[in-house]
Symmetry: D3
Subunit: 151 residues, 6 copies
Amino acid sequence: MTLYLTHRYHFSAGHRLHNEALSAEENRRLYGKCNNPNGHGHNYQLEVTLAGPIDPATGMVCDLALLDRVVDEAVLTPFDHRNLNLDEEAFRRRVPTTEHLCIEIFNRLAGKLEVETPAGVRLARVRLEETSLNFFEYHGEEKNIQGRVRD
Amino acid sequence: MTLYLTHRYHFSAGHRLHNEALSAEENRRLYGKCNNPNGHGHNYQLEVTLAGPIDPATGMVCDLALLDRVVDEAVLTPFDHRNLNLDEEAFRRRVPTTEHLCIEIFNRLAGKLEVETPAGVRLARVRLEETSLNFFEYHGEEKNIQGRVRD
Amino acid sequence: MTLYLTHRYHFSAGHRLHNEALSAEENRRLYGKCNNPNGHGHNYQLEVTLAGPIDPATGMVCDLALLDRVVDEAVLTPFDHRNLNLDEEAFRRRVPTTEHLCIEIFNRLAGKLEVETPAGVRLARVRLEETSLNFFEYHGEEKNIQGRVRD
Amino acid sequence: MTLYLTHRYHFSAGHRLHNEALSAEENRRLYGKCNNPNGHGHNYQLEVTLAGPIDPATGMVCDLALLDRVVDEAVLTPFDHRNLNLDEEAFRRRVPTTEHLCIEIFNRLAGKLEVETPAGVRLARVRLEETSLNFFEYHGEEKNIQGRVRD
Amino acid sequence: MTLYLTHRYHFSAGHRLHNEALSAEENRRLYGKCNNPNGHGHNYQLEVTLAGPIDPATGMVCDLALLDRVVDEAVLTPFDHRNLNLDEEAFRRRVPTTEHLCIEIFNRLAGKLEVETPAGVRLARVRLEETSLNFFEYHGEEKNIQGRVRD
Amino acid sequence: MTLYLTHRYHFSAGHRLHNEALSAEENRRLYGKCNNPNGHGHNYQLEVTLAGPIDPATGMVCDLALLDRVVDEAVLTPFDHRNLNLDEEAFRRRVPTTEHLCIEIFNRLAGKLEVETPAGVRLARVRLEETSLNFFEYHGEEKNIQGRVRD
């Protein structure tokens, strides 16, 4: 019996889409106004989904306070009210597109949650909304797909 | 050809998270302010998803009036403007966490919908939002997973 | 030059609409399902609006951290995850309708904010949403209306 | 490594649910007020989800400008501010239920996107919201289900 | 002591913006795609605001069931799932812009509410949202403005 | 007969709250994480409200296409996907708090709209939402308050 539990979080960050391997002209064509040299920013809405059985002792899949603490340490503290390009080592050499940010968040959370959550509970999905008109989802690597068909 | 049809419903209910098998101290640590002795409450947002083929005679998966009637009888009438702990037999011995409430709603609906909906239509998902920051999803038991990989 | 600054807050509480001065029959007719003996509850969304000039030293009307602290002390701590009827002295003898709750919140905030906010800043409005379909607003007593025509 | 990218679009259209093969009486019973002879209309919210790997040169799954152009040509131009029954050949003989509209949109997009998007990127889902209380999703034909279990 | 109470309602309707006193060319220039000959439609969101004192016997400004009944009779029954141009006498000779619809709704409600609501309660505002990007508000005629400065 | 017409717009921008007249220590205390040296950013939601009579020839207060063009030129083009501190002359010497941004937008729009809108139509309000939890409103200078009591 698997339940999916999702918590929403918000953070605001600045970024600039610019690939140093490309010319100024190619960057402008590729990223449009997102290539503005001085950057811009967004209110990101993050949804973190855990999948697992209900613990019969508590009636819960996972203590939300635990999840909040892990997301706070792994995502909100480093990203909220920061400039992704300049303040984050992870985006020094990778363009901080929402795709890359979504995967970065999944990987940071997956490692910590594997240690902290009860046995049988796993990170099933990260969904990252950049504006009210676009969002991105990542469910982890394909290799374990047999065990994850329900995500 | 499978289509997924979802209808949203709202109900307001009171509850208290408290496990009688645990000490007062353990309950406070586990459920925090949700353990307040006099309870509190929420506006729950419920999404019920049916999966099925389109009936060529109507162009619809399922008459929404039928779905509304079943949800009204099975969920809204017993739960709306009620206290889940005190007014509902189902939560006399189970803590009314949103996880338990989500599964309870799924099971009540699944039984009735199997009888009432057209052949080939099944309950695919129940999603229950407790606040604007957290929600829960249940897709039914794992056993039928082969036939349900797309939920 | 007056600017209006609004901050949104959320709290979840239980309540029961019941007037002890009326008969059981009258209470049921008047409050309908809100009169359920064991109560129910809501996710309340609160908006607090301050009006005032911009402080030229900061470019702000009021430090939001100050406003958050006052709202936390005066409203969120006593009301969030509580039963309004049973946990709050203020509603022992007044029915906790959203109208009464809205005025109670305004009056609690007005007193504290008068002391804490910069000169010229005043509480202009409290807006309380009980469900996504209904909300209530209070702007304070009429007496000062001449100075408040713009609320 | 598969990422899911979703873009939201809005269009407003009129329609009438009426099946010419049925009697007036049967149409009224089946479609209720949606059978009103002069029609009515909705603000439709459309979500288009692409699935694919991240292009290492850009850090993106697909250029959103390309997706916007395809959706504009295939969906928004023909449907926005139109009457689905009278202005659209596709609904001359099919009742414009949201189910049919959802599949029509999926099929129009799938063909164009297969040609225009990078290799490995495919249309994974179309979600169409008719009102804030009901929405429909289509993931394409079942035949390719093995390769699509993660949608 | 005046409180403002607002209830939200939804209805879906079709319309066409077309002024018979103008040429086809002028209509197209003026109303753009809203002039499409076969019309289109919207999900309208309506907010009705009453202002008044709290009745000490009930703790409420006005029984919401009374307001719901009046809005149902005066607005939802005639407009929901209708074509405003063809099904409504009021828009035979007036273009059903959202401005005109907003005033029509205010006037229909004001007359009925004056009779039905408790003394001291008045219709303060009608707000009509045509899409998520535009809305209209009407507070009634200017003549009574002295007594209404707080709306 | 005055109607209020509001259009919503969205733009994303970066900013940093920092007052050069204050010490680094004072800036950190005053602006908290908004003082991060490399800045951050937001999705701003802007509402522009015009007040005026209905033009009997069109049934509208103001052509929305005209309003959109003015907002695009005066606000969206200079601010969307820009860094407010570095890309905007207006914020070289004024801290780009949302208060200042709200007034800057009002003043830019008021001048242009006075020239472009029909006689009797005026800018009544600018509302700027920085995050889903806080927003700011400005109605213009006090001096004309007699003629504006209804805003």
